[in-house]
């Protein structure tokens, strides 16, 4: 596709619109084992928590990227939620079970930005579970690759 300066500008405006709209809307629903009401978090809520940044390669992109987000163990700790297994669900209904031990063993984050730019819903945003794949040989395995849930929308802890 040929991008003229005008169409590029239009694209940028269009891309920025939903992000601005999403900031005040809850993007992640977290359900604990024995909590009645699920926690609904906005991007702002997540950005308010301590951020972790690291660079890693992914299996669906070339080169490495810098991801910034919240450590999953910090988030669950913050919400005071405990359990053995986490079921992560994406906007497209992709469902994956992740053992809680992953979050203890590795610095797994819920990333909200890649290379300094906010993740978008039209790409892999707004939230993406990212493993520090390059830091651990063990994580370079397809059994870990499928736990990288993008367009994450819900977490259930059992």
């Amino acid at each position: 596709m040929r991008l003229t300066p005008l169409t590029a500008l239009v694209c940028l405006i269009l891309a920025a619109l939903p992000v601005a709209a999403q900031d005040d809307k809850p993007v992640l629903q977290v359900t604990g084992l024995n909590s009645d009401a699920p926690a609904r978090l906005t991007i702002a809520d997540l950005r308010a928590l301590p951020a972790t940044t690291f660079s890693t390669s992914t299996v669906v992109t070339d080169a490495t990227h810098r991801f910034t987000g919240v450590l999953l163990r910090d988030l669950l700790g913050h919400l005071n939620i405990k359990g053995k297994m986490v079921t992560a669900t994406a906007l497209n209904d992709y469902v994956i079970d992740i053992p809680m031990s992953d979050f203890e063993s590795f610095d797994v984050i819920i990333a909200y930005s890649m290379d300094g730019r906010a993740l978008e819903r039209a790409d892999k945003g707004p939230l993406w579970i990212v493993y520090p794949r390059d830091a651990h040989k063990k994580l370079q395995d397809i059994r870990y690759d499928y736990r990288w849930v993008w367009q994450l929308s819900e977490i259930k802890v059992r």
Binding site: M1, V59, V60, A122, D123, K124, Q151
Partner: protein, 590 residues
Amino acid sequence: MRRLCGSRIRLILPVIAILIFAVLLGFALIRMFKVEADIKVDAEQNMLWVMHQSESATRRLVETTLRAELGEADAEEIALRLDLLRSRFALLQDGPQRRFITEIGLHQRLSELHATLQEIQPLPKAFTAADVRQLRQTLTPFAAFFVRAANMTMVREWDNLGGRLETSRDQLRQIIVSLIGIMVTGTVLTVTLFLSLRLSRQRNAMLHRERDFSSLLVASSGEGILAVDDARRCTIWNPAMSNMMGQTAEQTIGRELSEIAGFFDVAQVRQAITAALGGKINSLALQPYFRDAHAPPLHVDLRVSPMRNDEQVVGAIIFIHDASDRHMARQKDAEIRGRLEHLVAERTRELDDALTRERSAADLYRNFAGMISHQFRTPLAVADSALQRLIRRGPRADANETAERAAVARNAIAGLTRLVESTLDAVRLQAGQASAKRIACNLMQVLEVLGTQLRATSPDIRIDVHHAEAVDAVALCDPAHAEQVLENLLSNALKFADLDTNVSARVHHDDKHVHCDISNAGPTIDDADRDRLFEPNFRGRNSVGTQGTGIGLFIARSLARMQGGEIRLLSDDARTTFRMTLPRFGDTKG
């Protein structure tokens, strides 16, 4: 030859087996690494799932538009589904997904659809049915594209998988063949090892037997055997060594040789051991070994040989044989030979003496007439002079004077008689029997008698007779001959002496001889005359103008030699000295 071939095969076979083993092992390892790398499955090989999700996102969007037409879905839900489809395109346009799409040849079509998707505007909140229908129509080619893409993906992935499985199977097959090879070579090696072990055990046993036999030989040898390592420490010491040196094997093994006995530190022995350690065999004969300071030494023969291990000298072995008996026999031989030689020399000397005496006697006999004329002159003159005086005195002479002068004449005549008898006896008796006449004779007395006789003929002569203190003047000789010799020498001395000087006679002795030196102060004898002085009828240059026959010194020497003696002219510039030497009587007694 067969044995050599066998051992070579025994060596070559394991080497080949090990080589094959290593090659096969390396090959199998390489193959296994390859298989291990191939087995790794990347998520990029999960394209079928990507295509399925993409198709699913498309169909969900279409479904949402249908529901929107029925009023069951709002604009926000449509926007969500649209974003999800857009995210799928973002994924397909990125990294490995894009490469795969290119590989199956759909990238052109994908780009076209992506452009179409980008042009779609989000629906306003109050959208119409026509807007939704328009959107659905725009999306019509998307689902068909993903169905086709999924189809192609499946075919490509199965092709790839089939190819990879085939490659892996080939590699596994090669690994299996290699492992079988490894097993075979391992078996060969095991068998070789087993055979080598058995052989080694057999050889060990043989070696043990041989060593035991050697030990037995060393232990039972009558010869002393010891061995040293290259640091000269004792390693073998057999019982014969213990007997010889008085030290047991326990005391000596492990110690340095120089500590064991000083004998091994003697330069020759040490050099022999050094040479052996340098690879040379050598031997020493009859080395004295002092076992005890007070006892006579043993005499031993040594043979020192190097001990080698694979051409390298690791020590020396020393064989020591007690050769004292041989040494003693050799010494006894030497003693006997010495005694014989001494005896022969003695006999030779005696025979030489006898020969000299015989020759002198023979010379004298040949010159008997000359001697008579020479020797008789003086006694005849003495007798004549005594008788003349007696006649001149006539009746005036009293009885005493007559008796005295007659006695002088008779003495002279008696001397002549003795000389004749002795000379005839000596000449008659010849060699070997000449000594029969030799008796003890005091030369001092002879000199005194002569002095008296000479003064009787010429009263003004002066003769000083001296002798060394405690001199033994007794010679073994014929007194008549000794008297003649001294009379000759004294007459000569007086004849050639300067006026108013004394003639001296001095008697002294050494171990075997008595010497009588007669000397005067007078004209010296020319060097040229000295050698010929004792020849018969020779007269020196300085005797010109004096009376003489030139036979006196010849007779004197002949007579002296007949006694086993000698006459010599001593060299002295101031005085002329003739020395008569005769055997000591005391020496023969002893």
